[in-house]
Amino acid sequence: LSSEIELIFCPHPLLVNNQQYSQTRYVKTTANATVDHLSKYLALRIALEESQSATQGNRNMEGGPGAGNSSNSCVQDVSEKQFTIYISTARGQFSTLNGSLTLELVNEKFWKVCKPLELFYAPTQVQ
């Protein structure tokens, strides 16, 4: 069995504005998870949360059946490419993490301290 990794997952302070995603996420997963797994997880959670709030809004306005139909389709469309994951390497500097890296490797290579791994996320910027 793979060992467990503890993560504090925050919006990128420079690339994400406060209204967009303000939630700090406290996450545990196994060390064999890759950065792509983490990115896809984030996309799924945010899609679910946005669809739930949209459904609640529809219920409040309409109150009719079928209000959540559009939410299921957006959750199915999530991709690990939607968010880019960063780690803070020095004061004010952030390094993009390759999607194929395991969190165990990120922990050993970049973090090296015995406390939860602190990572940052931002929507992937299209070139």
Binding site: E6, Y26, T29, H37, K40, E80, K115
Partner: protein, 34 residues
């Protein structure tokens, strides 16, 4: 923590489980050591 969300994510046939809590205290082992 009062509530923990459990989610499985699969990429290239590798499935990993994520657990997320609303607060860190009582959820992270190392948090208690500080």
């Amino acid at each position: 923590p009062e509530e923990v969300t459990v989610t499985d994510i699969t990429i290239n046939s590798l499935t990993v489980t994520f657990r997320e809590a609303l607060v860190a205290r009582g959820f992270f082992r190392s948090w208690e050591l500080e």
